[in-house]
Amino acid sequence: MAVTVTQPQRPSSGATPAPGGRRSRGRTASVHGSRWTPYLFLAPFLVLFLTFVAVPGVFGIWISLHDWDFLLPKKPFVGLQNYTDLLDSSSPQFQPFWNGMKATAIFVVISVPFLVTLPLLLAILLGRRFPGRTFFRAVFFAPFVLGVAVVGLMWRYLLDPSFGMVNGMLGALGLPDSTAWTTEQPWAWISLAFVTVWWTIGFNAVIYLAGLADIPVEQYEAADIDGASAWQKLRYVTLPGLRPVLIFVVITTVLASANMFGQSYLITKGGPGDSTRTAIMEITDLGLSQYRMGQASAMSYVLAVFLALIALVNFWLLREKKS
């Protein structure tokens, strides 16, 4: 399987045309059949894609231009008001929305550095040759196959401030044993970041491992000959060799953390106060519990634009600098 290729794929037109098949019209495919055959193969996908991806993507904008209450028959057109309300501190959406954006931003800032660096260290460890390497790789990856519901319910119990086993073990080691992991700040953020690292470390580690395998061994041998230290090899061989993978990991991890929902829904229930109510929690609560979908759609597009800008900035900061 082509799992270790890190060269970017050509964006399109990857299939080579059939030899000699270019000229005659009805026979342009390397697989024969009528000219409609490709569309028949694509039809089931395209029907689902148009119905549940392409059309909703645009329909959502339409919703956001209306006062769209799911439970009311009238859904009056309001233009851009749902967007301008988000900038108007006297509107009822203003405070919850920006509180959610702030919580999302805090979570991104505290979780991403760990979610990017710890898996890299783990991947470097696992990249060494030792018996049982595949076994350990599978162990560290295991939590990732669990759903956020399992992870959230588990850690809510383990992190319980009064009878949780995390405090129990800290106490057994003679450390403070009454930290309010889920009910006070900054502990709630620390807990959510820790749980997310525990849950997803294997994902990024596996992506780094594939990237590490593509760095030519000769580069390390050359560094050894030059008497490079372990740190120098990391700095001057590993990191530059991983650059494309690193860009991918940083961008996808920022987006994943910005999408955080289940951990705070289950572990802190948005608390203490509403400090861990993320933007996604606000959007789903407003749109899918209170059914005020116009406002919620407007929020989701604003959040999406923010995330797109952040992804572009990350890409720009991490790009190969041409000297």
Partner: protein, 275 residues
Amino acid sequence: MKRRNGPLFWVGMTVLSLIFIGPLLLVLLTAFKSQSESRTVPPTYFPSQPSLRAFDVLFFQDAASPVLRWFLNSMAAATMHAALVLVVCSLAGYALARMEFRFKNAIFTAIILTLFVPGFIFLMPNFLLLDKLGWLDQIWALVVPGAAGAFGVFFMRQFFQGLPKEFEESARLDGAGPFRTWWSIVLPNARPALVTLGVLSYLANWNDFIWPIYVLFSPERLTLPAGLSRLQGAYTIDYPVVMAGAMLAAIPVLALYVFVQRYVIEGVASSGVKG
């Protein structure tokens, strides 16, 4: 790197393994405790009087929480979803890998672009769409909408492009049509990719949380993750019961993972190769 791995390395590996597996074991042990023992300070690790009470409550005592039904709902939804993804994405992926047709690049670009659109954009419009289709509170709400994913079709296309063309050409010379060729020549050779995509789709659907909690309403229609989060809503949480439920959701995917971990990990690794 040729350095020897000293005892420190192995101590580190052991500690790390405990951090990743230990919490699961502690939770599994909790499922066998009494409700009062689950709340003792300091906590016990091994149940002093192991009992199956939590599983009894989970399965038989609470009519408002039909946990077995949730389990079967999750199974059915994930199985149908994975099957649908495989059919739809391997058909489309094959066309994109091997056929030439008008608008091919436009279609492929449009699909790939959606990889960059965050999923929450689709929550509200798809909810309304399901309402129009009469699929709210139905299993179809979980099976169908996510099946046309860009990742699946991209993954299958990449795999098909890597297959040698000789078999397909000899099938054509033998008079097999394109559909026949796809079904009896191409798909059997694509088994590793199909297993990988099938397992990843199954896991994603089994674990999905945000969508089922909003599109399912009736207690008997819930999936396991959605149902378990409602169990937690009670005033005093019966933790052994909730932990038993969490293990019920975890053990099938962990078991599946043990058998196909190579496919899962390689599938995930391949998602990073787009660079």
